[in-house]
């Protein structure tokens, strides 16, 4: 059980896919202009990551080494298509906002990376912990980024047509926050903050920052 919690926590903190490993940045920077759309992207990634990790882990002894990548991609693509069709049926506005980024989850290197680096070598129990931890770590970071960008960049946060926070009238929203440079700047601050927290929390533990387990290169797209 301790092992399970250890794996789960790594995705949230020390191996956080976004702020520590810095993979899967493309959809993160592109989508994080609106909190509600981002929420459903994060949910989709969490779903695909967890289900595909568990399934690949269950099948791992049946998948020959040389064809593992094609099998991973078919499994991941199937779950992504399920998400794609469901969003299209039940949340058409969100589907329109996310657009191409939903199908692109297939090539998101967080998911392929975890399948290759973790799920293919570990039992389903741990693959579940890894999928949930990495998925929630991704969700936390991208939601924080989206909340900050939407608030600063548009002066309000609207979640599915409900206004959550509204800045006073005199506030002039700087448009750059909504563009890519703004995404990088805000993201940089978030990385700095999370690293500081991680350093404070983990500097005195006996085992230092575990080695990065991702073997894949940069983002595919």
């Amino acid at each position: 059980m301790n092992e399970w919690i250890g794996v789960f926590k790594r995705g949230l903190s020390l191996d956080n896919p976004l702020v520590v490993l810095m993979i899967g940045l493309c959809p993160t920077l592109a989508v994080s202009t609106k909190l509600d759309g981002t929420f459903f992207l994060a949910l989709s990634v969490l779903f695909v990551l967890t289900t595909s990790s568990v399934l690949i882990s269950l099948l791992r002894s049946a998948i020959p080494e040389l064809v593992r990548i094609p099998v991973f991609i078919v499994v991941i693509a199937s779950f992504v298509t399920i998400v794609d069709l469901s969003l299209q049926a039940y949340l058409p506005d969100i589907y329109r906002f996310l657009g191409v980024w939903i199908p692109l989850i297939v090539v998101n290197c967080i998911i392929l990376g975890r399948a290759e680096a973790f799920a293919y070598h570990n039992p389903p129990r741990l693959a579940l912990a890894d999928g949930l931890g990495m998925g929630l770590g991704f969700a936390g970071a991208i939601l924080l980024l989206a909340a900050v960008r939407e608030l600063i960049g548009s002066g309000q946060i609207v979640f599915l047509e409900t206004t959550l926070i509204e800045l006073p009238q005199w506030y002039r929203a700087p448009g750059v926050v909504m563009l890519f440079p703004g995404a990088f700047i805000v993201f940089g601050f978030i990385i700095a903050a999370i690293s500081a927290i991680n350093r404070r929390l983990y500097s005195r533990t006996t085992h230092p920052v575990p080695a990065c387990t991702i073997t894949e290169g940069g983002d595919v797209r």
Binding site: A30, R60, S61, A62, I63, P64, E65, L66, V67, P70, V71, V74, V75, A77, S78, T81, I82, L85, S86, Q88, A89, Y90, P92, V100
Partner: protein, 202 residues
């Protein structure tokens, strides 16, 4: 834990079985969501139709034969739907066409509203796969689509000599123009003659 050996048979077998299972799962998902997706698309279609022809209250889809004859005038641009629009009093107020000219990243699906006399009343780009930031200017640069409003069949060639395109998005902009021209040509060839039959009987 032993790993399945990478013999040719095992490799082909594994990939084949995975694909079959995946296809089965997707077939069920598709069946389960198909009706809802179609319903959502119908709602979106109604909204898109009202957006291009403000005077239209009720839209009636024209029969497929008319669609086929329209394609003779449309050249290589596909026409995927034509609607006759009636205003609140039940009089014919114009037509709406759904066409999908080829852009840079694939078809640009657009709905064009024409008034009774074939004058462009509104343009709505409903779906496309143009490059974000470049091709998408056909939507974000609002003046672009708006400049086509008011084009009429009689002066089409004059308009074509003098309109503004978008730098860096030539193919996407050309697609929108092609859609407009096609709509006007179809009006000239087919729809003009349909103005009076069947109208008004609510």
């Amino acid at each position: 834990m032993g790993r399945a050996p990478s013999t040719p048979l095992r490799m082909v077998g594994t990939v084949f079985v995975t694909c079959v299972l995946s296809a089965t799962a997707l077939a069920f998902t598709y069946e389960a969501t198909r009706e809802r997706i179609a319903a959502q698309e119908r709602i979106a279609e109604q909204q898109a139709l009202s957006a291009v022809l403000a005077t239209g209250e009720r839209f009636e889809r024209l029969e497929d034969e008319i669609l086929v004859s329209a394609e003779d005038y449309a050249g290589k641009t596909p026409i995927t739907g034509i609607w006759r629009a009636y205003d609140a009093r039940g009089d014919l107020s114009g037509f709406a066409l759904r066409t999908s000219p080829r852009g840079y990243g694939g078809p640009v699906h657009m709905i064009i509203g024409l008034d009774r006399d074939g004058k462009v009343a509104g343009v709505n780009i409903v779906q496309h796969r143009e490059t974000p930031g470049l091709g998408t200017k056909i939507i974000t640069e609002q003046w672009f689509a708006e400049q086509f409003v008011g084009w009429n069949p009689a002066d089409l060639s004059t308009y074509l000599d003098d309109y503004d395109t978008i730098t860096g998005a030539t193919k996407s902009a050309d697609a929108v123009r092609d859609g407009i021209v096609t709509a006007i040509q179809v009006y000239d060839g087919v729809l003009r003659g349909l103005r009076d039959d069947g109208g008004g009987d609510l």
